[in-house]
């Protein structure tokens, strides 16, 4: 229930039917943007959305995406620091 993929809205194709052209890795497909439309549709051009069965279902929040990635990177650094500390500790103990 789940095959959704991020795509970028590149053009509005039919304002009255709320249809736009989305691009996913160079592949284009007309999608319905009713779920993400708030006012005039041109605003959506350039925006990213989650595309599922020909509908743009939810806007992708760039800030949240960056926050999630940053949290992961921080975890990575913290983990490295932890491992470095643990190794350092072990070397110290071995040296005694």
């Amino acid at each position: 229930m789940c095959l959704g993929i991020p795509g970028r809205i590149v053009a509005i194709t039919d304002e009255s039917r709320q249809m736009a052209m989305a691009e996913i890795s160079g592949v284009r497909r007309e999608v319905n943007v009713a779920c993400i439309a708030e006012g005039p549709l041109e605003v959506l051009v350039g925006e990213w959305a989650l595309i599922h069965v020909g509908f743009a279902m939810s806007r992708i929040d760039e800030g949240e995406a960056e926050r999630t990635l940053q949290a992961l990177r921080d975890l990575g650094e913290a983990q490295e620091a932890l491992e470095a500390m643990t190794q350092g500790q072990q070397s110290l103990e071995a040296a005694r």
Binding site: M1, C2, L3, G4, I5, P6, R8, R17, I24, S25, R29, E30, N32, A34, C35, I36, A37, W48, L50, H52, V53, G54, F55, M57, S58, I60, D61, E62, E64, A65, R67, T68, L69, A71, L72, R73, L75, G76, A78, Q79, E80, E83
Partner: protein, 378 residues
Amino acid sequence: MKYASEFRDPALARALLARIAETADRIGATRAKPVHIMEICGGHTHSIFRYGLDKLVHEGVEFIHGPGCPVCVLPMARVDECVEIAERPGVIFTTFGDAMRVPGHRKSLMQAKAAGCDIRMVYSPLDALELARRNPGREVVFFGLGFETTTPSTALSIQAAAREGLANFSVFCNHITVPEPIRALLNDPDMMLDGFIGPGHVSMVIGTHPYDFIAEDYGKPIVVAGFEPTDLLQSVLMVLTQIVEGRAAVENQYARVVPEHGNPVSLAAIADVYERRPSFEWRGLGEIDASGLRIRPKYKAFDAEEKFGIGYATGRREVAEPEGCACGAVMTGRIKPTACPQFGRGCTPEMPLGALMVSSEGACAAYWQYGGARAAAE
């Protein structure tokens, strides 16, 4: 691919796996006494196997594959009804690819197509609408399958058909909802689940609050997750962290796509077009109250059950499952696919007995394709 590739970074995964291992150790989870985390959604099952996450996580973390596969929970009788509709003269029966191979009592849709029915695979209900516009002399029926992720798309399509006055378009509605079967599972005394990974795309429609009861009434953590491997790993870590801290809450790992209150347009369309059936039959789970949707009377011109006099509109039918099929037990997490006596014997991808082997995201098909079972056997 933007918003996908970054979340598949193996370097990020390494740190997550290490942290998961530490947390699992702190909980005291071992291979013999694991933490059981259910991923509800079939798409998550697929991701777990595709990236081998089940083999990469600490051995004290065990994934239980939940019933969130709308194809897998499709009863055989429903497939029979699809075939019946497809066999009516003048019908173009449209469906997602997933449903084509599910066995019915007589045939699957694939077999019905071979026998001469006009059955076509489409990517979107919009394509079915277009077929109806272009073929005014034919009756186009769309098989509306899926959880809340897909429900808005058929609702919006029915609304469009109504606006245009399309007389030759209808939907055979098989939409189901996620919270109810979870409640049914949690009420099962044999259930031994410690936490949940929540369906990311269902949640982009319904938001995160429909899962509050899981934490509040049953005291289990649930983390709504994205579909990339780091999303899943991060969500596992968040579930384990709640467990070790003795908390039970609904958390949203997929905030970049899932808004807390869901999508207003989708929810409005669903409310306008659909209403809850008093109960609905789920393969392997039996009848569950208020878990299935049907088209409201105001849109009955687009309801295939009304148009063709079929299905629940005509009252109850008996719904026997094939002999020896243990799909229900596998789906509720009671047994692993390899413990099903039919797995690899009476039930294989070439000759599937049950839907879990047919559907590409069914636990059994995933075990087979990605080798969880056969690799483990060596």
